[in-house]
Amino acid sequence: MSSLEFENLNVWFGDGPDRVDAVTGATFDVESGTSFGLVGESGSGKSTILRALVGLARNWSGRMTVGGLELRGYKRPRAFYRDVQMVFQDPYASLHPRQTVDAVLGETLKLHGFSDIDRRIKTLLDDVGLGPEFRFRYPHQISGGQRQRVAIARALAPEPSVLLLDEPTSALDVSVQAEVLNLLVDLRKERSLTYLMVSHDLAVVGHMCERVAVMQDGEIVELLGVAEMRAMEVKHPYTRHLLEASVGYNPREA
């Protein structure tokens, strides 16, 4: 029901000398109930693909479908916003500075027509491993990782079937990352969710995803399965470079 298709997707910003072709000719499918990873260079267009899908990048051409439904322009049907939720790369920008955690979650729940708000807020906080003491805090009163957990709780609130995850754990410490990844794996199993996730951490993508697209400068340079990635059976030199560099800092490399 919630498969995703991208066919020859182009996305651009601006015009004239400052035109940026952020994504060019991206083609890939995400089967319903699976996880797909987007990895690659900073600035290569990963976030832009997610943003185009939800209607936040207006200039695009090609074909995008969600659950077989073809998307047009940048307006999305009402049901889309419930079914497809996004966790943004930047947890700071995505939480309103004057809203408490309670207000963020409460409003989202109300917006999507839920009634047992109080109980749901408690469950959501618990799901993402935040104690009740965080419920009435403002974003500046919690740490970076705690903010990202609030962002994930908000995305889970309307019970979506597709989650677009933009670096969902890059602001988290490794233990919370493990908790959040386990949570995402469990949720996917329980609710047969579909994930499209961006991460620069290949070990995270390897843990979560069945298939991966490697991007460089707006283009998908390689599509591969996770088994091939683990076995280093890769074709494109950039993919190999990413894999080799993923072990830690080596001063002689760049």
């Binding site: 930047d90 920008a93 740490s143 970076g144 490794v174 990844l181 990413l242 830690g248 800092y249 001063p251």
Partner: protein, 284 residues
């Protein structure tokens, strides 16, 4: 003499349920080295960094037996003197890059302003310097980026712009809070090389806050491991994988591994006794 000498640092916030101590008596020194701070979310890493620059918003408070920058007591400086320290002597790359950039000002203008404020250079020289710094952090189309606004940048570009901005004044100490968390490995390597060079060639002191244990182990000289506002363990960075404290072991074991797939990742089980342990000293 070390660049920075911090003794018994505490950061306290009044909350509805009484006082909350985000940092509880932390002591360490920083020389011309790469000092890593790791630890779980909420353990007080960012608050430690911000406290050094006295950037804790009231009613939060910073207390310490002393906190000296090259022998000068930071706690006794006037707000005006602190402004001369921030950016000039000690720079901090904040964990939230876009949040710390001015959203309504072009990126080029922001870098130029900082550079001119600290050096008094002319506009033309400042523009050239800004382009050079962007190039140094591997931003490809520097001229476009100079004319762009922060929201037009990708996550990793925002992070690199912040780094460029903080390094343009050539500070004595750089506090980098999760500076590379949004960067792909190859850009990350380039950014780390810049910091590495500043430490080795110009004798900068670097405080590198990160939750990426492999990165800290391979990049830093020493590591402080924080839990609940205290230092539970310190070690040479390249010995991090042999760390003894069960908390550190727990952090190490919760990493996913490309070479060893597993269904579920280990998560930390916290022992209440860890809360009561006294802070280990990070002085050398």
């Amino acid at each position: 003499m070390s660049l920075l000498d911090v003794e018994n640092l505490c950061v306290t916030f009044p909350t509805r349920r009484g006082e909350f101590q985000a940092v509880r008596g932390v002591s360490f020194t920083l020389g011309q080295e790469r000092l890593g701070i790791v630890g779980e979310s909420g353990s007080g890493k960012s608050m430690t960094g911000r406290a050094i620059l006295r950037l804790i918003r009231p009613p939060g408070r910073v207390e310490a037996d002393h906190m000296r920058l090259e022998g000068r007591e930071l706690l006794q400086m006037s707000e005006k003197e602190m402004q001369g320290v921030r950016g000039q002597k000690i720079s901090m790359v904040m964990q939230d890059p876009k949040f710390s950039l001015n959203p309504v000002m072009k990126i080029g203008e922001q870098i130029i302003e900082i550079y001119r404020f600290h050096t008094g250079a002319g506009r033309k020289a400042a523009w050239a310097k800004a382009v050079e710094m962007l190039e140094a952090v591997s931003i490809r189309d520097q001229e476009r980026v100079m004319r762009a606004y922060p929201h037009e940048m990708s996550g990793g570009m925002g992070q690199r712009i912040m780094i460029a901005m903080m390094l343009v004044t050539e500070p004595k100490i750089l506090i980098a809070d999760e500076p590379t968390s949004a960067l792909d490995v190859s850009v990350q390597t380039q950014v780390l090389q810049i910091m590495d060079r500043l430490v080795r060639e110009r004798g900068m002191g670097l405080i590198f806050i990160s939750h990426d244990l492999n990165l800290v182990a391979s990049f830093c000289d020493r590591v402080l491991i924080m839990y609940a506002g205290r230092i539970v363990e310190t070690c040479e960075a390249d010995k991090l994988h042999e760390a003894q404290h069960p908390y550190t072991r727990g952090l190490l074991n919760s990493l996913p591994r490309l070479d060893e797939p597993s269904e579920r990742l280990d998560v930390l089980t916290r022992d209440p006794a860890w809360m009561e342990e006294t802070s280990v000293s990070g002085r050398v």
